[in-house]
Subunit: 377 residues, 3 copies
């Protein structure tokens, strides 16, 4: 059927945007698990389509290996953890923490069997993994998570999202949706219409939104004492990497002078680790710099936020199901101004994926036409 | 494996017949919903593989739009109906009843966003939709449903059939199966052996079956008062369009002269609207021209008929599951004389589908070698 | 990602091994059902991807036909068995036990409709079927099942295995896994390390394992009276055909002279009949030559063995699910010495499948480089 001129143009532009068909980016640090998830019990998790095995050594160090036994493809998760080694539950191949077989029960030699070992870096409540080319693993490239570094109070969560990770990034880079998808939780009607700035560099995108004056939803109003007051709610959506998005927000009573305002900020790391093309491990690490001693505030905010983020999970899954059905000749998406950061993000992810697959010269893969700009204050 | 000569010939002939692999015909009026299904609650339904959104305006007019938001593919069924407009539940794009965005919350202009609007025509208990090229929509081409036009008493039903629509048409065009699939409901053993006529024109097929004398099953015997009598049961299966099949039946006491017989007829519209290649919306509108004042007759016949039609649903689903498994090099279907109308129907649907896809010259798409013949009385 | 040199070599070698992607071998006798499964009730079962219908004639002879009606693809399992004929539940085509239509209700002639008839041979508790080219069916090629021929006591079972049949053969040809997968049932820790011989001919593979001295698990110790004694457990894994594997085992008290030992042996037929690429009908016929009169021994051993074989089912299904996910560019399997027989088996199945598909000259299809060797005693 005929598309309109605008629909056709959107369809063509869409070919440069990452989406559910885009291959994964492997040369990137991803968060594999919350620290508390990895223990002396063998655990399997699919990351970028690969099944990984996780466990802790006796000294507490977390280990990630391929979950597939290199002998006969048995899932090692159904094996025995013996000291720091894993004894395959099928034929007893014993693996050390580097993925090398150190014992084959039925013969004297080890047969040269090995499976992939994945570098892990544990940082507070999260564990980063390198899925890419081993020689490119560089721990200095792990993105910072400032709420963990500054002594803030944090809490964390894991959610299973049955949708592609790109659309979670998209969701986060335009918080217009707070007024609609989150109308009953932490959105307010004025959110969608509030002024915003967009900043884009070659590999990072921000959208800063000024909701002033506004009334804060309970999740922010109660812990800050701003219930019933005309307040400012200033939020920055920050695409840090394909593996990390951080939302920064500050709140204050607009009747106060700047010098009188208590410093009340939150930072929420939204961490979309791709499992498959249509499933994402959605980790959240939330931190605040106020009411540091009050556990009930931590519990209250955590519960309120997770209820809201669950709305994203539901909405993104509904979107995924419809995209799976409707992708085809008539498919298009038309963008508006508040999509500028998210469109840049999707173009960036597409270029990164193409570069890894050798589809474009990798030297130009991270170049954009935008002038490099400083991070918003 | 080697097929017999007859099996091979059937396999080759089968390539001209529509089946579960045949693309949909778009330039056709289909019934999208029963009128009572469409309300002020947003409803989604997949038709010809497309997800559509249905609702009624404040004045009661039914509306059908694409269910996919033209901005970010959110299913509009999870949105808010505000007056006659739909406000997307994700980012708040507001659509009018023509599928045009009339408000983008995050900016002043509407961004030229629009989605497809599907013409609807409501006729009594059913709503027709045009899924094809907009300029070809012609309400005068909507097939007549005579039981709605003649003051008959009607009832209607919706069933979800997990099978391709072509096989429901096939089922209806040869009622031989009443003696077997419906042996315990409204079939009788003599049905399969009864004489029949077949008439075929370029785009319509009839099979008229004369079961005389017979004993009527309860669904017909009780309301007509023909229980225990030698009766005539004369049924015409009428393929009206890819979207509509009508069964006409008359019943009378064969001991009566033609002039003495009360006029006791039913017409049942069987309406197979394709959802996907393996799912069909199966609507039924049943009407009769006798016992017009008696609601208990309506209820009795409706309950009896739906029990029988549910046997078709089960049988067609069993057939679909086996076809899905067995389609391949050894697949064939051998036709018999009573399949003449249904084979012509499947050839016609195949030609229509091919013509829409440009596989054959559309001018010849609706031509057949059969001489045009009048509809049977 | 880069594989190691050994991984790459294993990946290349793996291309000669049968696996879940390998087409089925049709020209082979398979066990279709246990005798007790086939009765006067119509039963359908998928074998080598084809849906078959089974029933017994009035004289008790088992019959197998295509389950798909040659007229309109209705599954004949939902039909009526009338004497020795099957009357299709849709339009009443009546089939004789050769798959020929002998009555079409709606016309005088039979229309030349026929469906495939599959030769069956019933041997004690099992029924063999020939799925291949009809002219190659040769009952003298049905493999022997010695436990049925020698007056041993037998019991049999059916299990549904959601995995490819090749991996059940692989499982059986290397019983190293008894120490791990069956650690809690009939495996012992010394099993994996026991000496073994491998013998390979062009179409048959054996692995004989000498677990001496050992302590027997309850399934063998209790019926043989060898509880608490130093015993010998000598087991031969015997790949008889793609459709049959037989495990032979003998047990004795090693403190006795050979002349004093009672003859205590078991033979277990493991019968993997492919349903689809990822599902296998797993039949077991177990026999013993001791305690012949004691039914409680039969029951005890049957229950113990099936608990163990269920561990194989679970493990093979876990392996299948992981292979389905991980097959791709990085997939490899590295073999060890105890895999020699199973690697030969997988090469043989691959050659047979290729030969049937005409990919290699069939004359060389059953040739190997191994010297023909006698069956182990």
């Amino acid at each position: 059927m005929a598309l309109t001129r605008i629909q056709k143009a959107a369809r063509i532009a869409g070919q440069q945007l990452a989406g559910r068909q885009t291959p994964f980016i492997f040369n990137e640090w991803y968060i594999a698990a919350l620290s508390k998830e990895v223990s002396r019990e063998l655990m399997a998790r699919t990351i970028l389509g690969k099944s990984l095995l996780f466990y802790r050594k006796l000294d507490g160090t977390a280990v990630a290996l391929s979950n597939r036994c290199g002998h006969r493809s048995f899932p090692l998760q159904h094996s025995t953890l013996d000291g720091d080694t894993v004894v395959c539950g099928y034929h007893g191949m014993r693996y050390n923490d580097q993925g090398e077989v150190v014992e084959v029960p039925s013969q004297a030699s080890c047969g040269g069997i090995s499976i992939r070992h994945y570098p892990l870096v544990e940082m507070g409540p999260v564990i980063w993994v390198w899925m890419g080319e081993p020689e490119l693993a560089d721990v200095t490239k792990i993105p910072a998570m400032p709420m963990l570094e500054d002594g803030w109070v944090t809490s964390e969560e894991y959610m299973d999202l049955k949708a592609n990770y790109v659309y979670l990034h998209e969701n986060l880079l335009d918080l217009t949706h707070l007024s609609f998808l989150h109308a009953n939780t932490f959105g307010t009607p004025d959110y969608a219409k509030a002024d915003f700035d967009v900043k884009i560099t070659d590999d990072r995108m921000w959208l800063k939104r000024y909701v002033v004056p506004t009334r804060l939803p309970p999740v922010w109003a109660k812990p800050t004492g701003l219930e019933g007051k005309d307040a400012a709610r200033i939020t920055t959506s920050d695409f840090v990497s394909p593996a990390l998005h951080i939302v920064h927000a500050e709140f204050y009573d607009i009747s106060l002078d700047e010098s009188e305002r208590p410093d009340q900020r939150i930072k929420t790391a939204h961490i979309p680790t791709p499992a498959t093309a249509t499933e994402t491990h959605y980790f959240v690490v939330h931190g605040r710099n106020f009411a540091l001693e009050d556990n009930s505030v931590t519990e209250f905010m955590h519960q309120q936020l997770m209820a809201a983020f669950q709305e994203d999970v539901v909405g993104l899954q509904q979107q995924e199901q419809l995209m799976a059905q409707e992708e085809g000749e008539e498919y298009f998406e038309i963008s508006v101004k508040s999509d500028a950061a998210s469109v840049a993000m999707r173009r960036y992810i597409k270029r990164r994926a193409d570069a890894e697959r050798g589809l474009i010269a990798s030297s130009s893969a991270v170049q954009t036409t935008a002038t490099q700009q400083p991070q918003p204050a």
